[in-house]
């Protein structure tokens, strides 16, 4: 259904309407007012599409900071010994790399960006259930992110001198070190605490939207699988985040008041902190990956022109991952001195969570089988997800086995493993989504050849970077070390070279997408011939309230006959 109405970019922005209009009126002669009105129309818009784009832009900025910090680590480690940053600063750099990448990029990740943009479109709704709450999540995100980034720069050291005291000791903020460190721990933790609210509100909003705002004729099992994945991850956001919120709050209270709860010198139990931290943070791992799985399910079906194989199995396995994911947290703590019984139980449950993950993977492969496959750029990214995430998942089994974990615990093997899952999973899923929904968001199309080139750089660089980490971890290189023995030099150098190649790919991809957005050729209304509502019933880019009239669903989101038009 092609509409000639204004796109949401040109239309009104729904909140502070009067103020914006008077600014625009004043702006007829004054460029500054005009610019102000334009900025207001974005940062105070309750339109889910604008909120999604806001998230996308801000997250891209934080991602760039995170990548720079990561590169800094890799350059420092190119040779043994100290190169250009001291051991103390090194601690801060890897901590902030973790904090920014986890809390500001991967956790909000796909739900905050394309979840916001596409969920109502895919459901056939004019907006999410609570548009104002939705906007407030972005503001909370910015406040939390601001505090986290601020903690990078300012503060006083133990002697009261103003200096850079970015948090050190890792993004997990393990006690008792995080209680004693003179770095800006409290500031960073307050940031994470506020980010938690942003995440919870997004989850509440999505669950309510999915329950209440599906189009006529769309039951739960007629939703696109991306919606299912958002549903599963939203439950994780709602049910797990409060636990980490209270845990981080307790650390802050401990630092200011000394109540003794996690401090062994006052009778507290530091292992309790680890339990409470991972009760959230392990489900959060699935929160990062499940939406990516949803994107990949959609993309694989569209680009092989086949009905997705095992729709219900994929949908329910998302919920199963979210559910079982709650009961595996202590596999992060096999060396912390738990009882053997606890170790065995958690190890078993960890293997169990591999089952729903494998169900998805096999269903994707079965969808590809005899499909009419088009290797367009989004499809290449989707297959990359399957490949890299499989490596991430299989290397995870080694971590889940108690005996093997004792060997690889706290080595670069773990670093390699979680980058394969988080980056090769969560972020590659986001890149896939960027390329797949690009024509929907912008109405234009990027240069596909350059898209392949960026992917090639990324793929080669990624595997060199993290593959060598897996190897040197098995050889015994511990993680988070500022220095290393000479026999690891070759692996560190390979890793750094891989990092440079990968970042080159990321830069090419970023420029390609940006160029496409600014002056790319116009895309077709339904560029990839998708069958879900965002492609069939709304314009590209969509109008303000998404649909001319409320859509009614006939047929499923993957009704393909195997032919390309």
């Amino acid at each position: 259904m092609v509409s000639s109405a204004k796109t949401f970019y040109e239309d009104k922005a729904l909140i502070f309407q009067g103020f914006q209009e008077s600014l625009e009126k004043a702006g007829e002669n004054n460029k500054l007012y005009k610019f102000l009105a334009w900025v207001l129309s974005w940062i105070f818009s309750t339109d889910h599409k604008r909120v999604g784009i806001l998230y996308l832009i801000t997250m891209a900025a934080f991602f760039a900071i995170g990548v720079s910090l990561g590169l800094l680590i890799r350059f420092e480690l190119f040779l043994p010994g100290e190169q250009f940053i001291s051991a103390r600063v090194y601690n801060s750099v890897f901590t902030m790399h973790g904090v920014i990448m986890i809390f500001l990029v991967v956790i909000p990740g796909i739900p905050a960006t394309f979840g916001n943009f596409c969920l109502p479109l895919q459901l056939g709704a004019p907006d999410v259930s609570f548009p104002k709450l939705n906007l407030s999540t972005w503001w909370l995100f910015m406040i939390g992110a601001g505090l986290a980034v601020l903690s990078l720069f300012v503060g006083t050291n133990a002697n009261g001198e103003l200096m850079m005291v970015a948090p050190d000791g890792g993004w997990t903020f393990y006690v008792p070190y995080s209680l004693e460190s003179s770095a800006n721990i409290s500031l960073a933790l307050s940031g994470a605490f506020i980010l938690g609210f942003s995440s919870m509100f997004t989850g509440m909003n999505f669950i309510t939207t999915i329950h209440r705002m599906r189009a006529k004729g769309m039951g739960f099992f007629q939703m696109p699988l991306f919606c299912w994945s958002l549903y599963a991850s939203s439950w994780i956001q709602v049910l797990a985040t409060p636990v980490v919120s209270i845990t981080l709050l307790l650390v802050i209270i401990e630092r200011f008041m000394g109540i003794g709860i996690f401090d062994p010198s006052k009778g507290g139990d530091p292992v309790l902190y680890q339990h409470m931290f991972w009760i959230y943070s392990h489900p959060a791992v699935y929160l990062m990956v499940i939406p990516a799985m949803g994107v990949v399910s959609d993309v694989i079906a569209v680009f092989s022109r086949r009905t997705i194989f095992g729709y219900k199995a994929i949908a329910i396995s998302s919920m199963a991952i979210a559910f079982v994911g709650y009961f595996v947290w202590a596999h992060h703590m096999f060396t912390s001195g738990m009882t053997e019984t606890a170790q065995i139980v958690f190890s078993f449950l960890t293997f169990f969570v591999a089952i729903p993950t494998a169900i998805k993977t096999f269903n994707w492969i079965a969808t590809l089988y005899k499909g009419s496959i088009h290797l367009s750029v989004p499809m290449v990214w989707a297959l990359t997800f399957v490949f890299l995430f499989s490596i991430g998942g299989l290397t995870g089994l080694l971590n889940g086995a108690i005996n093997a974990d004792i060997h690889v615990h706290d080595t670069y093997y773990v670093v390699g493993h979680f980058h394969y899952t988080m980056f090769g999973g969560g972020m590659v899923g986001l890149f896939c989504a960027c390329h797949y929904w690009f024509p929907k968001v912008t109405g234009k199309i990027y240069n596909e050849s350059v898209g392949y080139l960026a992917w090639a750089f990324f793929f080669v660089g990624f595997n060199t970077l993290y593959g060598s980490m897996l190897v040197m971890g098995l050889l015994g290189m511990p993680r988070r070390y500022h220095d290393y023995l000479p026999q690891f030099t070759i692996w560190h150098q390979l890793s750094t070279i891989g990092a440079v190649i990968m970042v080159t790919g990321l830069i090419i991809m970023f420029i390609n997408l940006l160029k496409g957005w600014i002056n790319g050729p116009k895309a077709n209304e339904n560029h990839w011939d998708g069958r879900s509502l965002e492609w069939t019933h709304s314009a590209s880019p969509p109008i303000l309230l998404n649909f001319d009239k409320d859509p009614e669903v006939q047929g499923g989101p993957y009704d393909y006959d195997g032919e390309w038009k």
């Binding site: 509440m204 309510t208 329950h211 209440r212 705002m213 709602v238 209270i246 709860i261």
Partner: protein
């Protein structure tokens, strides 16, 4: 309530989407997060109570004033009742009565905080306050918590954190109750449109409910 449900589901493209059931659903999800937030603290409490310091917790619990805690329990229970009465009153189009019950609810919340003030003040004056708050030493003398047995020190740490966080929720409750009061006065909430008030009521009951668990855990553990 079913006819009012029908009344408020109207899908209109020009209006902001109104959905009575959806609003309720969102509120219940939020309440889950509140319960889990306190759940983390209950978990910590139980770990220390059951696995480490049963005896110390019993001894420390004896220092708490059951009369004040019990009185506060009564106050909160009463306020939950008046909250429900206020909602019923507005549903029966009795605006005046509703305002009266809302004011009683807010007064109960205030009373709760006043009792809390005297309770904490008494603890402070005995030197029972978190040891790192050294600025309090000027008024109350040095904190005696570091000299207590470790389990008792942990108990008081949890006591101040849990009741403090709960007190914070009570104050947040007062803030939203004042908004409700304002909305009732200006007819923003009436017998047709009371979803907001019901949701605030739900929140208030949860604040009450959390206290009902806090009271026996902390005060009656001795």
């Amino acid at each position: 309530m079913s006819n009012s449900t029908e009344l408020h589901i109207e899908e209109n493209h020009d209006h902001e989407h109104e959905d009575y059931v959806g609003d309720k659903m969102g509120m219940w999800l939020f309440l889950f997060t509140e319960l889990l937030l306190f759940g983390g603290m209950f978990l910590a409490f139980l770990v220390y109570y059951i696995s480490f310091y049963t005896e110390d917790f019993h001894n420390a619990g004896k220092n708490l004033n059951v009369m004040m805690g019990g009185g506060n329990t009564l106050i909160l229970l009463t306020s939950s009742l008046t909250m429900v009465l206020a909602i019923t009153a507005i549903q029966k189009k009795n605006k005046f009565l509703s305002i009266f019950y809302l004011i009683v609810t807010i007064a109960c919340a205030g009373g709760f905080m006043v009792v809390k003030y005297f309770e904490w003040g008494a603890k402070f004056s005995h030197g029972l306050y978190p040891a790192k708050l050294t600025s309090l030493a000027e008024y109350f003398g040095p904190s005696i918590i570091p000299s207590l047995p470790k389990g008792e020190a942990i108990f008081f740490g949890l006591y101040f954190t849990m009741t403090g966080l709960h007190g914070f929720h009570v104050m947040a409750g007062v803030a939203v109750l004042l908004i409700v009061l304002y909305k009732v006065i200006v007819n923003d909430i009436d017998s047709e449109k009371f979803g907001y008030m019901e949701n605030v009521g739900l929140y208030w009951h949860v604040v009450d409910l959390i206290w009902i668990y806090l009271f026996p855990l902390l005060y009656l553990v001795a």
